[in-house]
């Protein structure tokens, strides 16, 4: 009796992520359709973005609306180096991805330090403004960024029958890495610090938590991943323009993904990204302009007002409640740290 119970939690905790990983790895091989793979790569990009955002904002509670800035830094780094150094396309260019990440992270140090001198709504506003600032700079510092003409990256030269595979697997690797780091942080003392900052920053500071260093380091780690993803995006799409890589709507979409799935959880951002990317593809193909924004905005409102815990957490709660009702032997199986149910910040008025 005792031994079988000990086996079960570990199997469930590590079992289904492994299954998902296997599924993800084999996906493009099973579905070599170009359109499908295209969507899959974009989904991975979104999922990684949402996960990186979560590392900072989900844990510390600082809703950064300006993470697109680091996406843009990464994209421009990749584009500018590959073009200015006249590098040939191919596998080699993937080596620039971590470089872009480092550049974005370095930029995040001063920018993060400045932004983090504010809190609450001032912080949200200042990070949002950063996107507009850098978009303006990208448009107007033509000497560096070529402005609105955009930059075209070297073609990768991959054969058509496996064209998408390198992008897919590199991006998958980035997502897995981000998820691992995210998970590791959660179970570490560092993660506890971040969560304490979210709940009561000054009290945490008074108990010895190094809040300044904690926030800034999480910010920089998050920016590192976001920058890498920007570089991947640039290489994958093949061209970048200021309004697409420094896009406030992208920032909002990121936030929505995290909230949709569940802020502060591991699977939440991935689930949110999946839903949103599929929706975006649907709208861009089947509907004229405008419907996607309506969908995005409406979804935002529905989630924030009615389902602030996000889909994953709500499902988890339903599942726990169901298990309790079924009278499963002993306490319900829970992962290493049970996902904390959040009191909704928005009270739905009852008649």
């Amino acid at each position: 009796m005792d031994r079988s119970l000990k086996l079960n939690p570990r199997l469930i905790t590590f079992g289904w992520p492994l299954i998902l990983l296997v599924a993800a790895v084999s996906f493009p091989l099973v579905f070599p359709n170009a359109a499908v793979d295209n969507v899959a790569i974009l989904t991975l990009i979104f999922a990684s973005l949402a996960t990186s955002w979560n590392i900072f904002a989900g844990y510390t509670g600082y809703n950064a609306l300006g993470h697109t800035v680091y996406f843009g830094f990464g994209a421009y780094t990749m584009a500018l180096i590959s073009v200015n150094q006249q590098l040939p396309g191919g596998f080699g260019l993937f080596l620039l991805v971590p470089v872009a990440g480092v550049v974005a992270a370095l930029c995040a140090v001063p920018l993060g330090w400045i932004s983090l001198r504010t809190r609450g709504h001032a912080f949200v506003v200042i990070t949002l403004i950063a996107v507009f600032i850098f978009q303006l700079l990208a448009f107007n510092l033509r000497g560096i960024t070529l402005g609105s003409t955009g930059i075209f990256l070297p073609a990768p030269g991959f054969a058509l029958d496996w064209y998408f595979l390198p992008y897919y697997y590199v991006q998958l690797a980035i997502l897995v890495l981000a998820l691992l780091i995210s998970w590791y942080i959660r179970s570490s003392r560092y993660g506890l610090w971040l969560l304490a900052i979210r709940d009561d920053e000054d009290r945490a500071e008074g108990l010895g938590v190094r809040t300044g260093a904690g926030k800034l380091s999480a910010f920089v780690i998050s920016a590192f991943f976001t920058g890498m993803i920007g570089a991947m995006y640039a290489y994958f799409i093949g061209s970048i323009y200021p309004q697409y890589v420094f896009d406030p709507a992208l920032s909002i979409t990121l936030v929505l993904m995290a909230f949709l799935g569940g802020v502060g959880t591991l699977s939440g951002p991935v689930v949110g990204a999946l839903i949103l990317e599929i929706a975006q593809q649907y709208f861009s193909l089947n509907a004229q302009t405008g419907y996607y924004q309506i969908f995005l905005g409406a979804l935002f409102l529905i989630i924030m007002l009615l389902l602030p815990r996000g889909i994953v957490r709500s499902l988890f709660r339903l599942w726990s409640a169901w298990r309790i009702r079924r009278g499963a032997g002993g306490s319900p199986v829970a992962p290493e740290r049970p996902e904390q149910p959040e009191r909704p910040a928005v009270a739905v008025e009852r008649g």
Binding site: R189, L195, D199, D200, R203, L207, R343
Partner: protein
């Protein structure tokens, strides 16, 4: 020996003089009560001592070291813990996680390892047992009742093994049974060597617990003495009634 000394501390907010050349000493090993009518500056004094406010004038020393300008974090590291009038815990974390926040570890490696080491967990469990919250160890702190949250806050500080504990209205808003339990626990901890400075309005609580009582009025120390002396002191009565 005086563990905590406050000399001539003054603090004004705008036009209001919350503290006016206030002086107080807390002897090691004592349980000192701090009473006074509303607005006499008790919480402000706590804020100054623990670094949440900087005084306009005066000196605060702890164990001989000058902590007047020190940050709350450094003061806590020196061994001075404090609870708040309106209890401050971490609502979305579990009780056990709350307990681990104040655990003092040093070094980057310690930061990156698991949030709970076995000996830390053992100590946390021991303290939860001490305050009677063991059965709630995995509950989110926000689900606790007000009294339970106060106990949690109390235990959370203890895990860092403070030398002095400043308690801001520990019996406020709790039922008499809990208040009595609190008295017992404070006395036990005092016997183990922790010094206490307690702000309270509940006179019964103060009289049964403290071996010395200081009375504040209008931002400064009015008088001090043992509980019996204070109870019979007409000036103290006047301070409470006169305001």
């Amino acid at each position: 020996m005086s563990l905590l000394e406050i000399h001539g501390v003054s603090k004004a907010f705008g036009g209001i003089r919350a503290l006016d050349a206030c002086s107080l000493t807390v002897e090691q090993g004592s349980i000192t009560g701090l009473i006074g009518p509303n607005g006499s500056g008790k919480t402000t004094l706590f804020n100054v001592i623990t670094g949440y406010e900087r005084p306009d004038a005066g000196v605060v020393t702890f164990n001989g070291a000058d902590i007047t300008q020190a940050t709350p974090s450094r003061i806590f590291g020196l061994g001075l813990g404090r609870t708040f009038q309106l209890v401050r815990i971490f609502p979305r974390l579990t009780v056990m996680e709350n307990m681990h926040i104040a655990v003092q570890r040093s070094g980057i490696r310690a930061l990156l390892s698991r949030w709970s080491a076995p000996h830390e967990r053992a100590r946390a469990s021991e303290l939860l047992d001490f305050v009677g919250l063991t059965h709630l160890a995995d509950a989110p702190a926000e689900n606790l009742s007000y009294g339970q949250k106060k106990l949690l806050e109390f235990a959370m500080i203890l895990i860092a093994e403070p030398k002095v504990m400043l308690l801001d209205e520990p019996a406020g808003g709790v039922n008499p049974t809990l208040a009595a339990q609190l008295t017992e626990r404070i006395k036990t901890l005092n016997q183990r060597g922790i010094t206490f400075l307690v702000v309270e309005h509940n006179m019964q609580f103060v009289m049964s617990l403290c071996d010395k009582v200081a009375v504040m009025h209008r931002g400064t120390l009015l008088t001090e003495g043992d509980p019996q002396q204070i109870r019979g002191n007409p000036a103290v009565l006047e301070a409470y009634l006169g305001d």
